[in-house]
């Protein structure tokens, strides 16, 4: 599904040069639930941004579905993001002036040919999946952190993307709510076969996923199947 070859990312500012990623080679097959761990500043978010086509690597090749994306222009990249990728962020990134329903519908705004009633229907289905059917008319500020993150997940999955990239989705939540979110993601992975890459600082969460990649200082240091992943359920 996603292949990274010799990825290098260097941030160049006036005074300093930061190597955020160095020689990263990764292949994430379709349907896998991968977690990424590592100390702060080791390049996890950078990795996710590159996978999500939000940022370009300084060197190296990104392939989505076997196609290298380096030749694509902004418009085409946006199209791939819209069609294939769903994002979940630590700070939710909901638009406070829009209702829950409108927030969830946002990705369909950038997808031509979806009628208003279709969008509405898809948003309700997505909210049902995350267990928030009763909160459609609310505004983000009226929701708890866990609820907000569920709205964000509903938004990520409304377009039925093949990949979900989640950057510390439980980072702002307590363990109970974190658990809730984790279950939503696990269900998504198992029932719909969505490929998920999740950055986390929580060892327990990471152990629930299928594969755990550890980073240190911009480089992969380990990559292994987890023991706790419940293969029975797959």
């Amino acid at each position: 599904m996603i292949t990274l070859k010799n990825i290098e990312k260097v941030y160049q500012t006036k005074t300093i040069e930061t190597v955020a990623l160095h020689n990263v080679n990764l292949h994430i097959p379709k349907g896998e639930f991968v977690s990424v761990m590592g100390p702060s500043g080791c390049g996890k978010s950078t990795l996710l941004n590159i996978m999500g086509l939000l940022d370009e690597p300084t060197n190296g090749i990104v392939e989505i579905d076997g196609t290298p994306i380096s030749r694509y222009r902004d418009k085409e990249l946006a199209h791939i993001r819209n069609q294939k990728i769903g994002f979940v962020f630590q700070s939710y990134h909901l638009i406070n002036d829009l209702s829950v329903l409108d927030n969830v519908e946002l990705p369909l705004l950038y997808r031509s040919g979806t009628s208003a009633s279709e969008s509405r229907h898809m948003a309700l289905t997505a909210l049902e999946k995350v267990g928030l059917s009763a909160r459609t008319k609310h505004y983000p500020t009226q929701l708890s952190g866990g609820q907000r993150q569920r709205v964000a997940i509903a938004r990520a999955l409304i377009g039925q993307p093949e990949i979900i990239l989640a950057d510390e989705p439980t980072g702002n939540l307590d363990s109970v709510m974190g658990e809730e979110i984790m279950n939503v993601l696990l269900t998504l992975n198992r029932q719909d076969g969505t490929t998920i890459v999740m950055v986390t600082h929580d060892e327990n969460m990471a152990q629930k996923t299928e594969r755990l990649i550890r980073f240190f200082d911009g480089q992969q240091v380990s990559d292994a199947k987890t023991t706790a992943y419940d293969y029975q359920q797959v």
């Binding site: 941004n49 993001r81 994002f87 990134h93 638009i95 990705p107 950038y110």
Partner: protein, 392 residues
């Protein structure tokens, strides 16, 4: 997308209130100024009904009391003027000659109909030729009117419409100032003698008949041959001063009088335009500043939209679109207010003037909004999505 933008602006109406009201006021001022400009321009483009090129006006102020003597001197002046080869014709006229700062209003009435206020010009038979009026119905004054039972008058079409509607006015009697009766013998298409920027109003030309009632008029219109210049003017004034000794003689061109009248209309227009321009400049600065600030505050949202599949171009269009929607909110309020002017006929101005001004004002406000949004929106589109998401 448009629905989305309306929803977004509507939900943010509190924070957008200031912008919307700025646009609202800016629109109203523009509408007011444009109404005046459109009114003037529309009047300007209509026919005057006469030709003032090569027409001069001699104003004579006598130093003698006897009316008889004055008239005698005036007669001599006229004779002298007519004797020059450069002069094509002269006509005595009352002091409210074309573009003069003088008015003479009378009430005109037909039978028991309504009283209409009209400008009364006393003119000699030669006036139509000197000013090149176009008589479209009936005829102009001639010698044969000397013996007429009623004083003959020629009116303009505006007055005809007001008094007689679509019926012919020729031969009909008009009661003037509730006392004397005059008879219409002709109708001219147009006569807008007060100003090029004024609407055409009712006019009555009354025939000067020195046989019936001898009056000293003191104003003589002179049509000269094209190309007649200052040298002749000086020569003529010198000759005339020899005839009317100690009189004050003033010779000016009707063109100069037109220019003076023009100034009177232009000064308020220019003053208003300057004030309006200043206001618009301020609103534009404010709009630009607020948009700029909004965009830097909405970095996270921009990053998010990019992540969800918006291209840079779509972000650009969204921000332009938002400003247009904002402007639309302000304009809906403004138009609802402005439309009262033609609806209630606050001033006696054609509704069309307001509608044109309204249309131009709406267009200008949209242009202003796009102009102010252009650069901030481009900045918004240029924001790097990963950076924008990182900052939150």
């Amino acid at each position: 997308m448009i629905r989305h933008l309306f929803k977004l602006i509507w939900n943010r109406k509190k924070s957008n209130f200031l912008l919307i009201s700025e646009i609202f006021f800016c629109f109203l001022v523009l509408f007011a100024v444009l109404s005046l400009v459109v009114y003037n321009v529309r009047n300007y483009s209509k026919p005057l009904g006469f030709d003032y090129d090569n027409v001069w006006l001699l104003t004579a102020r006598a130093d003698i009391d006897s009316t008889e003597l004055r008239i005698a001197v005036e007669e001599q002046l006229t004779q002298k003027i007519r004797s020059y080869g450069e002069v094509e014709g002269t006509a005595l006229v009352s002091s409210n000659s074309p573009f003069a700062f003088s008015q003479m209003k009378v009430w005109a009435k037909v039978g028991d109909g309504p009283r209409i206020l009209a400008e009364n010009l006393d003119v000699e038979d030669t006036f139509a030729e000197v000013m090149q009026l176009n008589v479209s119905a009936g005829r102009w004054f001639t010698k044969q009117d000397d013996a007429a039972r009623y004083n003959p008058v020629v009116i303009n079409r505006v007055l005809q419409q007001e008094l007689f509607g679509d019926e012919s006015a020729i031969g009909k009697l008009i009661t003037r100032d509730d006392s004397s009766q005059v008879q219409v013998i002709g109708v001219v298409d147009h006569y807008r003698g007060s100003s090029e920027y004024a609407e055409e109003s009712p006019v009555i030309f009354t025939r000067i008949n020195q046989q019936r009632e001898a009056v000293f008029w003191g104003e003589i219109l002179i049509r000269v041959k094209p190309g007649t210049g200052i040298a002749f003017e000086e020569r003529m004034v010198k000759d005339l001063s020899g005839i009317a000794k100690n009189w004050t003689l003033e010779l000016t061109t009707v063109e100069k009088m037109r220019q003076n009248k023009e100034k009177l209309s232009m000064v308020p227009m220019i003053a208003m335009a300057v004030v309006c321009g200043f206001l618009i400049f301020n609103v534009a600065l404010g709009l630009f500043g607020v948009l700029w600030y909004n965009i830097s505050r909405r970095n996270g949202e921009i990053g998010l939209r990019r992540a969800l599949g918006a291209s840079a171009n779509q972000v650009y269009r969204q921000f332009i679109g938002e400003v247009l929607v904002l402007a639309t909110f302000g304009l809906v309020l403004g138009v609802a207010f402005a439309i009262q002017f033609p609806m209630l006929q606050v001033f006696e101005v054609e509704s069309m003037v307001y509608f044109i001004a309204l249309g131009i004002a709406v267009g200008l406000i949209y242009l202003l909004a796009i102009g102010c949004a252009f650069y901030p929106s481009r900045q918004a589109a240029a924001i790097h999505p990963a950076m924008a998401l990182h900052e939150e």
